[in-house]
């Protein structure tokens, strides 16, 4: 990989924060991909006795419909991670070009784009997500992904613009301009590659937030369908049986917290390695 040079890779390995984060993230990814595949039962099959306490057969117990919670928790990771990755991909796809154009073009184009970014940032993110889900016709996987994705756009646009503003004054960019290269080529070949490191850090941290937002929306009944093996939905359903079977809420919540913690640790560590100068965002 060109992004992480061998030197960075060595630094990353010596950075304990990043390493712990990477382990958590990898473990959860593998677990949520493999465990539902390897198991003979389906996470949705209601084959077992209801409300079983955690045991050897059912490490996390079973839920109100007799489904295995261990399987459901890992299957839930698939949805949360899928939503988060696709949503962050979407934010990147829209936000980065916005930032590139704003930073490079300057003038009216810049102020128009940044006004739009300001407008989006005048909404608290969870609130904006709620309104967007509503506008997209209510709870569904598509509106969840789109909403979480849109909410992330302004951060990427801002960060990219900031990078472009500082990079475009560099001599190698000026000489590329002097050589008569086109704007698109300068942006994509000369500026963007140098902005990739900070964008990687931001994406990593943003995935953690996106997981949280998606689960929060599902918890409010504005995310994936009722009954889906998804952490927010599972926690919402577990509220009813809080005193009777506390593990129904505890395990999905732990998985959710670990995921977010993993991405935050990894993102923090990546930042230390990739761009030590950058200041923490609030």
């Amino acid at each position: 990989m060109t992004l992480i040079s061998s030197k960075s890779w060595r630094m990353l390995r010596s950075n304990r924060t990043a390493l712990v984060g990477l382990c958590i993230v990898t473990g959860l990814l593998l677990g949520s991909l493999l465990i539902p595949l390897l198991s003979s039962a389906s996470p949705d099959s209601q084959d077992f006795e209801r409300f079983l306490s955690p045991s050897f057969q059912h490490p996390f117990g079973t839920d109100a419909l007799g489904r295995d919670l261990f399987l459901r928790t890992f299957a839930g990771g698939r949805i949360s991670l899928f939503v988060a990755f696709v949503a962050v991909g979407f934010s990147l796809l829209i936000g980065v070009p916005m930032g590139l154009i704003a930073g490079y073009a300057g003038g009216k184009v810049e102020s128009l784009i940044m006004r739009f970014v300001d407008l989006m940032l005048s909404f608290p993110s969870i609130l904006l997500a709620i309104v967007l889900v509503t506008a997209f016709g209510g709870a569904s996987l598509q509106s969840l992904v789109l909403s979480v994705g849109i909410v992330g756009i302004p951060q990427f646009a801002r960060q990219t613009r900031g990078e472009v503003l500082s990079l475009r004054e560099h001599e190698y960019v000026l000489s590329a301009q002097a050589l008569g290269f086109g704007h698109v080529r300068i942006l994509l070949r000369h500026i963007l590659p140098n902005a990739i490191a900070p964008l990687t850090v931001l994406s990593t941290l943003r995935i953690g937030t996106a997981v949280l937002e998606a689960a929060g929306l599902s918890f409010l009944g504005l995310g994936v369908e009722v009954g889906t093996a998804e952490w927010g939905v599972m926690i919402k359903d577990a509220r009813e049986f809080m005193s009777q079977s506390p593990w129904l809420a505890i395990f999905p919540g732990l998985a959710l917290s670990m995921t977010v913690l993993g991405f935050n640790l990894f993102g923090d560590g990546l930042r230390d390695v990739l761009d030590p100068k950058q200041v923490r965002k609030g």
């Binding site: 609130l127 967007l132 926690i235």
Partner: protein
């Protein structure tokens, strides 16, 4: 300073207009016929036509917005069709609940965030630093709604802390509440038993809501205090033989607080919105539950009103944060 403040406030007006327009357009773009959404699938065409006319939905979009906006300027947020009452009335009842909750959470977050941040900076690289920074990281990673449920499991029930609602009116009735700001009201009436009752209800949701700002504040305090602790004048103070406590709390902390205070303003705005999840967990009758219920009942006028109020509160908090920054630190006069 006044000039700067005036310019910032004036500058907010176009943005505010765009926010109002955006919310209006997003709500109007909800798929399906609004009147049918409101009445359900069993409505007859005549009923739908009547409601469409009543709500002015047969007018062109721009006329609808014009009417909405001019009503808004007079403080009229429209009517909740389902509850048949003015939305501003219900928001007036709900806002104090959210405000009390957010304020309590902010107080907790500020106190413990500052404490953890100062200890971290002073004992940099020691276990206390690692512990509080680890807790800060956990604080931003744990979902608020899950933490709320866990708190209810371990501390909830009626003893010692109730896990739902603001107050149990049946239990206590020393006076007629004069306003929706219950805590302030009980203090004004000198009914401290009532104040205690209210605080007991407030305790768990405030803790759940406080975790994220607490984490942010402690990180911010730590990093800006570490910066000022390395300044020349702090070294001079130490060289003069000033007591270490005084060096930290007086010489280093005061300038470090400038950036922390800005964060406080921003976080309060975030709290107003973050209350959506916390309120749902603790069935707190605030703006958050108001919006979520309205979304689920497809009462789109109510959604529009609630979202607008929180968005405006959020913008005002951001503005105050900026202004306080310019006020405290004369160097940032723009």
């Amino acid at each position: 300073m006044l000039q700067y403040a005036g310019r910032r406030i004036l500058g907010m007006i176009p943005l505010l207009f765009l926010v109002i327009l955006t919310i209006f357009l997003l709500i109007r773009s909800v798929p399906g016929d609004p009147a049918r959404n409101l009445l359900g699938d069993k409505a007859t065409p005549q009923e739908i036509e009547r409601v469409t006319e009543e709500l002015g939905l047969n007018e062109p979009l721009i006329v609808q917005f014009g009417i909405y906006f001019s009503n808004l300027l007079q403080g009229d947020l429209g009517r909740s069709y389902l509850k048949d009452q003015a939305i501003s009335v219900e928001i007036g009842e709900r806002f104090p609940a959210t405000f009390e909750l957010a304020t309590a959470a902010m107080l907790l977050a500020t106190f413990f965030g500052l404490l953890a941040g100062i200890l971290s900076a002073v004992f940099r690289g020691k276990w206390l630093d690692y512990l509080s920074m680890f807790l800060a990281l956990v604080g931003v990673s744990v979902p608020v709604f899950w933490l709320g449920i866990i708190l209810i499991m371990f501390l909830g029930g009626n003893h010692p802390f109730p896990s739902a609602g603001r107050v149990d009116w049946g239990a206590h009735h020393a006076y007629e509440p004069g306003s929706e700001f219950y805590i302030l009201d009980s203090l004004l009436h000198g009914d401290f038993a009532m104040t205690w009752e209210l605080l007991r209800h407030l305790f768990l949701p405030a803790i759940a809501l406080a975790t994220i700002p607490m984490a942010v504040i402690s990180r911010m305090t730590r990093s800006s205090l570490l910066e000022t602790l390395h300044q020349d004048y702090v070294r001079t103070a130490r060289a003069k033989g000033v007591d270490e406590r005084r060096v930290v709390l007086k010489h280093a902390l005061r300038p470090a607080l400038i950036s922390v205070i800005t964060v406080l303003g921003l976080q309060f705005g975030v709290l107003l919105a973050g209350a959506v999840l916390t309120e749902t967990v603790f069935t707190w009758p605030g703006l958050g539950t108001f919006i979520v219920d309205a979304v689920n009942e497809r009462d789109y006028n109510a959604v529009q009103g609630g979202v607008l109020v929180i968005a405006v509160g959020f913008m005002v908090c951001n503005l105050l944060a900026d202004l306080s920054y310019a006020w405290i630190d004369p160097r940032v006069k723009l």
